[in-house]
Amino acid sequence: MFKTEVLVIGGGATGAGIARDLALRGAEVTLIEGSDFAFGASGRCHGMLHSGARYAVTDPISASECAIENKILKRIADFCIEDTGGFFIGLPNDDECYPDLFMSACRKAGVDAIEISVNEAFKEEPLLSENIVASIDVPDASIDPFMLVLGNIESARSAGSTALNYHLVRKFDVRESRIEKVYVENLRNGSIDEYRPEIVINATGAWANHIAALAGVSIDLTMDKGSMVVLGRRFTHRLINRLRKPSNGDIVVPNYSSSIIGTTSITVSSPTSTSVSEQEVDLLMREAAMMMPPINASRAIRAYAGIRPLVSRKGGDSREISRTFQLIDHSEKGIENLISVIGGKLTTYRLMAEKVSDIVCSRLGISASCRTSLEPLSIPYGEMHNKMIGRGSPTVEIQTHENNGELRRDEVVCSCEKIKRQEVEFWASHPDVRGLSDVMRRTRAGMGYCQSGLCVFNLLTMLIEYSDTDPLYLLTEYLKEREKGIKPVLLKGQIVEEIFKECLLNGVYHISDLAEALRNEENAEGRN
C-alpha cells in the first residue's frame, strides 16, 4: 500500500507536465504510465511546435495559447527543439482571400507572421514548388516529443516525485464518492500495487473515457485518427505549411534526418486503431508534393498514426472541434477526487498542466505558484548532454576529439541516424527501459531508412546486458512492431530495403526459424 497526495495517470506530455508542475510546487506526486512514456498521442504526433499560425483563422484561442507557449518552450526545452522556423505557402488554386484573413488572424492572436516575397522564399528553400503564389514566415519549430516528455519526467523526479512506466491502472475502489484505492499492475512482474491518493488526475488522452469508466463516470469523446508519413530525408530547413484552411496533408515537418508529412483526420472507435492505409499514404504524399515536388519521387520509410481525443460537440467534421483542452472535474457527476484533462496540443501541454495544478493545489491547500515557465526542464540524459549536442546530423559524428590535428568520429551504432554507442549504452542500462522500442524512442536508433534492419543487433547486444528477457523474444517483438509502420509504404520505395532485410534476417540469421523453435519449446514446456 502506497500513499500519495496526487496520482497522475498517463505518462504523455500532459501527465508528465502535471507531475513536474506539482512536484515543483512541493506536492507529493506519483505518475503511473501503462506503457512507456510518450507511448500515446504524444509520441505519435507530428512533432510540430506550433507558432499558433495554423489555428489562427479557425481556432483563435488555441492560436494565442500556442503563440505564448511556443516562446516559453523554446526557452525551457531548447534541448529538444530545433528552431527551424516555418513557412506558410499558397498555391495557385487556394482561396485567394485566405492570406489576408490569415495575416489579420495571426496579428490578433499574437503570432509573429511576416509576409515575404516568393523569390525570397525560394532562395531560402529551393525545393519549394515553382508555382507558389504567397509565402509567410512564422516561428514554428520542430520538437522531439519523446525528449520533451522524458525531460518533464526527469524534472518531476528530481523534484522528488515518483514516475513509473509499465504500470497499468487496472481498477479503482470507489467509496462515498471518492476514489479510495487505485490498483496498479506492474507489467514487469505482474504484481499488483495499491495506492491511496488524495486526488487522481486522469491524463490518459484517448483512453480518458476508459479510466473514467473505472470510476463509474463517463466522458463524451470523439476519437480522431491522424496519420503521418515519414520520408527518409529532409527537403527544407523550415517547416512547410499550406496556406489554407487546415486540411489533409498540408504540413511537412523536418525532423532530424527525415521529413514528416501529416495529417489525415478520420474518426475511429478505439484508442489503439492506429493502423494506416495505403490510401492515406497516397493522399498525404500527393498533397505534400504539391508544395514540394521532389516529394513525389522520394522514399517513404514509415507511416504511423496518433489519436486525438476530442471532447464531442455533436455532429460535424471532426476537424472543426476546438483543439483547446478540456478540464473535467468529476465531482459534479459524483466522484470528488477525480479530474480529467483531455485534448489540447503538445505545444500547450505546459499550460494545461499549469491549469490542472492550480486546481489541485487549491484543493490540497498548497499556496506555491507555478514555476514551470521559468525553470528549464531537466535534460533526460543529464551529464551525457554535452556529448550529444547535434544528434541527428552528420556533425554529431564529427564533433569529437582532435587526434593529430584530425577530427575523428566516435563509434556510431545506428548509422542511419548517427546514434553513438555511449548514448544507447546509457539508455539500455536505464531502469525505465524494457524493450528495444524503449531504446528507440529515447535515442532514435532504429528510426532511419533501414528501419532497424541493421542496427537492431547492435541495440540488442547492448540491451541484453541489462535485461533478463530472452533476446530472441525482444528482437521479434520489436521487428513485428516496426513492420506495422512499414507495410503501408512498401510501394513508396521501401520494398527493396525490406527484401534485403528479409534475406539478411531470415536467409542469413534464420530469425523466424529460431523464433518458431523457441515457441515450440515453450509450448512443449507448457504441456509438460
Binding site: L127, G232, R234, S257, G453
Partner: protein
C-alpha cells in the same frame, strides 16, 4: 541545402563502403565512406556539415558506384558535395597549388620542360591532347604517343594553344573555373574532328563536360594493330608484365579499353602477362588526393606495387599518366606507361623509322 534527388534509395547493403579503397586504408573513423558521405548528407541536406578532410579523401575511383545494387550515383555525388562546399574556402595547400598553377600557366602543374611547338597545327582530323602530366612530367608518354600516331599513319596535330582540360578542378569542386577552361579549349579545338588523349582523366572529362566522344591512345593502337599497321618485334627474354586497370578507363570511359589493352599485349611476343590479385584496385592517383592527402595516395600506390611485387612482376603497365606518376612514388618496382611500352616494342618499319 544540398539536394541530390536520386540518392534516396540506398538499402544500406554497405557494398560501397566495404569495397572503398580509401575506407580500407584509412578506416571508417577517418574516411566515413561513400554511403555515409553521399546518402546521409543528402538526407540531412546540410552542406555545412560536410567535413572537407572527409570528402576530399575520395579518389573518385568509381568502385562504389560500380557495385551499388541500387545504381546510386555515389562518386558523382562526392563531386557534387565538393562543389557545394567549395565556396567555404576549404581547400588544403596542395589543392590550392593546383588552382594557382592553372591560373598562372594554364596547366595543373608547374611547367618544367620546354613546350614543344613541333606538332602544333590549326587543323587536323585528329587532335592529340597530351594532358598536363604527359606534356610536362612524364614526357616519354608524349613522345611515344606521337611516334605511335605517326607510325599508325593517322593525320593528327596538337592545337596551337590548349589549357588543362579541367578535370582536376572538377575534383576540387571548382565549377566556375572549370567552365572557363572548357570554353577556352573548345575555341582552340575548333578545326579538329576527333580527340585522342593519353590520359583517362582528360578523356572522362571531355566526355562529361565537352560533349565529345574522346578516344584513348589504346583504342587507336588496337585499331591499327588489327589493320596490321603496327607490328611488334619479339623480345629475347620473357618479361613478366602486368596491367593496372586505371579507374577512369575501367569504370568511367569503358572497360572495353582494358580488354583492348590485353589484346594488344597478347601480340607482343616474349612477354608473360601476369594477373594481379586486384588489377582494378585504385592506385590513389586520382581525385586530387595526391595533392590533398599525399600519404594516403602513397599508401594506395604501395598496396598496388606490393601486389605486383608479390607476383614477381618485372614491369607494371599503367595506361594513365596520373597512375604512372603515383605508382612510381613508393619506389618499388618498375612502372611504365602503356603507350611507351608499346612504342618501344614496335618492329622497325621502313618509313616509320625516319623520325627516330
Amino acid at each position: 541545402m544540398f539536394f541530390q534527388s536520386n540518392i534516396g534509395n540506398c538499402i544500406k547493403c554497405n557494398a560501397c563502403t566495404m569495397a572503398c579503397p580509401v575506407v580500407s586504408i584509412e578506416g571508417i573513423s577517418v574516411f566515413s565512406g561513400p554511403r555515409n558521405l553521399c546518402v546521409d548528407t543528402a538526407r540531412y541536406g546540410n552542406a555545412a556539415a560536410i567535413l572537407p578532410s572527409d570528402v576530399y579523401r575520395c579518389t573518385t575511383c568509381w568502385k562504389c558506384e560500380e557495385l551499388c545494387p541500387q545504381s546510386l550515383p555515389l562518386a558523382e555525388t562526392i563531386l557534387e558535395l565538393r562543389k557545394s562546399i567549395f565556396d567555404f574556402n576549404v581547400l588544403s595547400d596542395g589543392h590550392k597549388k593546383i588552382i594557382e598553377n592553372i591560373d598562372k600557366y594554364g596547366r595543373s602543374i608547374v611547367p618544367i620542360t620546354q613546350e614543344r611547338k613541333k606538332y602544333k597545327v590549326k587543323k587536323a582530323p585528329l587532335l592529340y591532347f597530351p594532358g598536363c602530366i604527359s606534356e610536362m612530367r612524364i614526357t616519354s608518354i608524349f613522345d611515344s604517343t606521337i611516334r605511335l600516331l605517326e607510325r599508325s599513319g593517322v593525320k593528327f596535330g596538337i592545337p596551337d594553344e590548349w589549357v588543362c582540360c579541367g578535370a582536376p578542378l572538377e575534383k576540387l569542386g571548382d565549377s566556375e573555373r572549370l567552365e572557363f577552361l572548357r570554353d577556352r579549349n573548345l575555341d582552340y579545338f575548333d578545326g579538329f574532328e576527333d580527340i585522342v588523349t593519353s590520359c583517362p582523366g582528360c578523356a572522362t572529362h571531355f566526355l562529361k563536360y565537352y560533349d565529345k566522344d574522346p578516344l584513348h591512345t589504346i583504342e587507336i593502337v588496337w585499331e591499327m594493330m588489327r589493320k596490321r599497321k603496327l607490328v611488334f618485334k619479339s623480345r629475347k627474354k620473357g618479361l613478366r608484365v602486368a596491367l593496372h586497370h586505371p579507374c577512369h578507363l575501367n569504370r568511367t570511359i569503358g572497360p572495353q579499353i582494358i580488354d583492348q589493352a590485353y589484346d594488344i599485349l597478347q601480340c607482343v611476343e616474349g612477354i608473360e602477362i601476369i594477373d594481379l590479385d586486384k588489377p582494378d584496385a585504385c592506385c590513389g592517383g586520382g581525385g586530387a588526393v595526391v595533392a590533398g592527402f599525399p600519404e594516403l595516395a602513397l599508401k594506395l600506390a604501395t598496396e598496388k606495387m606490393l601486389d605486383a611485387l608479390h607476383h614477381d612482376v618485372g614491369l607494371l603497365l599503367a595506361p594513365c599518366p596520373f597512375c604512372v606518376l603515383n605508382l612510381r612514388r613508393p619506389g618499388i618496382g618498375k612502372v611504365e606507361d602503356f603507350a611507351t611500352f608499346i612504342e618501344r616494342n614496335l618492329a622497325c618499319k621502313k618509313e616509320g623509322d625516319k623520325k627516330k
